[in-house]
Symmetry: C2
Subunit: 189 residues, 2 copies
């Protein structure tokens, strides 16, 4: 998606360790008009998938997730990183290791918000090693739901998550796909 690639080139910052910082428009400060455009693009890419629910994770997945869900006309559920004290009902949980933060989080969704008949679109802001995507897929599949797509705003295609998803038969769409970083510049596929 050219609009997004241009924005990443303009406002993204490449840090040591293959970290791309896009927090001026994607995951700390957010450009809502851009996010709506990304939601429209996700809806276009998955329009024939029969999506019944969008599943994402707090916090950075919520903005792209809700825009995609809005454009598809379906509810969105976001997995929490801790079990809130007001939850008294059954939950699905999955372990997610963050390479960036070097911590393992348990993500959870109340069981009643995922259904065996659901056709789930997983949305997230970044795909790198694929740990978050695998956790979200696990939550959906614990419910007996079918994951009909995985949509990410930005993927680092060289870090394993892309290959894992494609090799396991998931329909993956990345709105921007990074091939590599070279001399502090982003090279797209």
């Amino acid at each position: 998606m050219e609009l997004l690639e241009e924005r990443i080139k303009k406002d993204g910052v490449v840090l040591p360790g293959n970290v791309l910082k896009v927090n001026s428009f994607l995951n700390h400060q957010i450009d809502p008009q851009l996010m709506m455009t990304l939601g429209q693009e996700f809806a276009r890419l998955f329009k024939d998938a029969g999506v019944t629910r969008v599943l994402t994770a707090e916090a950075s997945g919520i903005a792209p997730g809700i825009m995609a869900a809005y454009c598809l006309g379906v509810p969105m559920v976001f997995a929490r990183k801790k079990k809130p004290s007001t939850v008294t009902d059954a939950v699905y949980t999955a372990e997610v290791f963050s390479y960036t933060k070097q911590v393992t989080n348990t993500i959870s969704v109340e069981a009643k918000f995922l259904d065996a008949n659901d056709r789930i679109l997983v949305i997230d802001d970044f795909l790198a090693n694929g740990e978050a995507a695998k956790g979200l897929i696990s939550l959906a599949e614990q419910a007996g739901a079918e994951v009909v797509g995985v949509g990410v705003v930005v993927e680092k295609a060289f870090q394993g998550g892309h290959d894992w998803l494609v090799n396991h038969g998931y329909h993956l769409e990345a709105l921007a796909s990074i091939k590599e970083f070279a001399d502090g510049q982003v090279i797209f596929n």
Copy 2:
């Protein structure tokens, strides 16, 4: 806002301890069409305030925050509950005590995403004791910005946050204002 009050009556669950659970449409599973309608209402209520940026907190504030920001045509920033490891820049921080979870979180925003010339609209899903709102106001005011409004989806008007904000001169708008809970029912103002 009658649409929201009706939805709370229909799908909200009152738990012991004056807890209103609205996680089927507002803060775990989210109805994006409803959320857009709430965003439009926030934009209408604050259309003359000259808002330059929306400020909210992860995770539950992001959905109403981004819809309000989308409808106002301004960027949104969400405060994080921990300092991410990729942040190397200056941050503003504030302490927020959660009565529901009985923990104190430090929320933070990178300094460059708040400006002394900003006219900030603070958005959150719930207003109860006002701790989260006070923390967000503190972040904005540390930057020298002016808080031109505080918009919340639901307020529990009897728990102190409402009175504190109004008594300190802030322009507060709650889309649904709860007067009290009586016999497990929600009584609106």
